[in-house]
């Protein structure tokens, strides 16, 4: 058992030492039995729970419409939580306004509508650094090192970008604010395989630098590979949870959520 709190931010944690269950200690973000929905009377989340510890990567997978995005949005104050508790660093943040959360160091990449279409790329990134405008140049260089295309296209309107390019902007925007917790909703969707991998590696990298990450993915295999822990969400409830690796190999999870396309293709290939 590693005391994550006392580790220097840059320390590498040997994966083998992570426990099957949750790490002990005060969680960084704790969502308990969240009930939330968009329309009155229709709950999308029916008691979903989630815990994030300092320095962790937590993955959320699940079928379409399970409520993964809703969960992230409710964590971020964009969907109204009807009941349940949401604790961040010991403070109750239930239904706290999103911009307040940003100043607490939480960053968010939504799944859809994740750029400002009539702003240029540079302006989009400016928005990312809205609360710390002085750091703009430094962070800008950083995100451009991940997505070099952004630098060359920085004056193009985000609305005219290709799907993948938008996704880059969205991800970059969230990274601009140098958050301590990052909520990512399908960051790899629409990216080329190379950039998908790049994204996951970068997530690990920022994680290594001390950022805790919650990541929702349909590219489940890749996601679970990098996660410390994973949750499977179904119909607004937690269906399974456990170490990323374990979920990846759990036959039930595979048959219900992951599929076996990869193996099939490999078999075909042989």
């Amino acid at each position: 058992m590693i005391d994550t709190e006392n580790l220097p931010a840059t320390a590498t944690r040997p994966r083998a030492e992570i426990h099957v269950g949750e790490p002990e200690g005060e969680p960084l973000l704790d969502a308990v039995d969240l009930v939330a929905g968009y329309l009155p009377g229709v709950n999308i989340l029916n008691g979903a729970s989630l815990t994030l510890h300092e320095g962790e990567i937590v993955g959320i997978i699940g079928p379409n419409g399970a409520g993964k995005s809703t969960l992230l949005k409710s964590l971020f104050g964009l969907v109204h939580i009807h009941s349940g508790k949401l604790i961040f660093k010991g403070k109750d943040i239930t239904n706290l306004r999103a911009d307040k959360l940003v100043s607490l160091g939480v960053g968010f990449v939504p799944q859809t509508e994740n750029v400002f279409p009539s702003l240029t790329i540079a302006e989009n990134l400016h928005m990312g650094a809205y609360q710390a405008p002085k750091k703009f140049n430094e962070r800008f260089d950083y995100v451009c090192s991940i997505f070099p295309k952004l630098e060359t296209r920085k004056d193009q309107l985000a609305g005219s970008l290709s799907g993948g390019e938008r996704q880059m902007v969205a991800m970059a925007r969230a990274l601009m604010m140098n958050p301590s917790v990052l909520l990512l909703d399908e960051p790899s969707a629409g990216l080329s395989p190379m950039l998908q991998d790049e994204t996951f590696i970068r997530v690990r990298q920022v994680n290594k630098a001390g950022v805790s990450v919650i990541i929702v993915e349909q590219n489940a295999r890749r996601c679970l590979q990098i996660c410390d822990r994973g949750y499977v969400l179904d119909q607004g409830r937690n269906a399974y949870s456990g170490r990323g690796r374990d979920l990846l190999e759990d036959p039930k999870v595979i048959s219900l959520y992951l599929g076996n396309l990869e193996e099939e293709v490999e078999e075909e290939g042989r």
């Binding site: 994966r15 379409n64 799907g163 938008r166 399908e186 190379m194 590696i201 396309l261 990869e262």
Partner: protein, 319 residues
């Protein structure tokens, strides 16, 4: 031998397939793989039985050339994958082919018809139906209504004829049945009376694809249909796509999921910076070092959970 039989008959039979059976025939598949077997693996190569032929299609945005396709053909009844890095011009190419955008130069023919300056709706009615990468659902219409809009030529869609329900009730019923069957397949049946605007990101993708299939198109162009779709469902839908072909549909799709491309594509075309840079059977294209370099990346087969990946990255950055 499947080739000795007329395809049409087969196709008819295929739609009346007995319950439970998915893939009824492999006639078209066999024909396509036979056709493509000896086609050269060079960009812009000619194919035996092309349904769409594009020549010298270019599109510039300001100073940047988004699309510059010298020659491109899609094999009839084939499942062709169009892959390429982000911003390669795939979506723009779709837009050009379907009339949503006009090219700076070039001409292209669909099924022998010249398609320059043809309105998008005409294109669709000629049998070339596309989906959008950034989904377009009719938010304040129910999912079922969204589907029904996908059905082609409905007498009830005339202003005057719509006033006489007798003229369209029957067809409406048939369309509804078909739509429900598709929704069932796409796991959306539970949502059929909900507004499409309430769908999740992945569900929208599914609806968009299902809607495109309502019209039994000759050529369906899917722009990243499976991005954001749950892997288990994706897998089951691939079979549906393959069965489409046996009903006479040609499929062109853009996708970044390499396994999917490998699994169902008969032919892969690679675009980069607006140009077609490689073409060929999936297996061989995926092994093309240029493709790996520009598109697949070096980490494709590496477990990202490995710390070695990070070290590699760090050293890369140090350089």
């Amino acid at each position: 031998m499947p080739e000795s039989k007329p395809f049409q008959d087969l196709a008819k039979w295929a739609t009346k397939a007995p319950e439970g059976e998915t893939l009824i025939s492999t006639a078209y598949r066999d024909k396509v793989s036979a056709d493509l077997e000896f086609v050269e693996h060079t960009p812009g190569v000619h194919k035996p039985d092309p349904i769409l032929v594009a020549n010298n299609v270019t599109r510039k945005f300001g100073g940047m050339t988004a699309v510059d396709v010298k020659h491109f053909e899609i094999e009839r009844h084939g499942i062709t994958a169009l892959i390429g890095p982000n911003g390669a011009g795939k979506t723009t190419f779709f837009n050009l082919m379907t009339g949503f955008d006009t090219p700076n130069t070039g001409e292209w023919r669909f099924d022998g018809h010249d398609m320059a300056h043809v309105q998008p709706e005409k294109v669709a009615r000629m049998g070339m139906v596309r989906t959008f990468q950034l989904t377009k659902v009719m938010s304040r219409l129910t999912v079922l209504d969204n589907m029904l809009l996908g059905a082609p030529v409905q007498p009830g869609e005339g202003m005057f004829r719509s006033l006489i329900p007798g003229l369209w009730r029957k067809q409406e019923k048939a369309n509804t049945e078909k739509a429900e069957a598709l929704l069932e397949r796409f796991l959306l049946i539970k949502k059929k009376d909900d507004f499409a605007g309430s769908l999740s990101g992945g569900q929208r993708k599914l609806l968009e694809m299902a809607r495109a299939l309502m019209s039994d198109p000759q050529l369906v162009m899917l722009d990243e249909p499976m991005a954001g779709v749950n892997p288990a469902l994706k897998q089951s839908l691939l079979e549906h796509i393959m069965s489409l072909r046996e009903e006479g549909t040609t499929v062109l799709f853009v996708e970044h999921d390499i396994n999917m491309v490998r699994h169902i594509a008969d032919w892969v075309t690679v675009m980069a910076e607006g140009r077609i840079v490689a073409e060929g059977q999936p297996k061989s294209v995926m092994e093309d070092p240029a493709v790996i370099d520009a598109y697949l990346g070096a980490n494709a087969n590496i477990d990202l959970g490995d710390d070695s990946v990070l070290d590699l990255k760090e050293s890369e950055e140090q350089r």
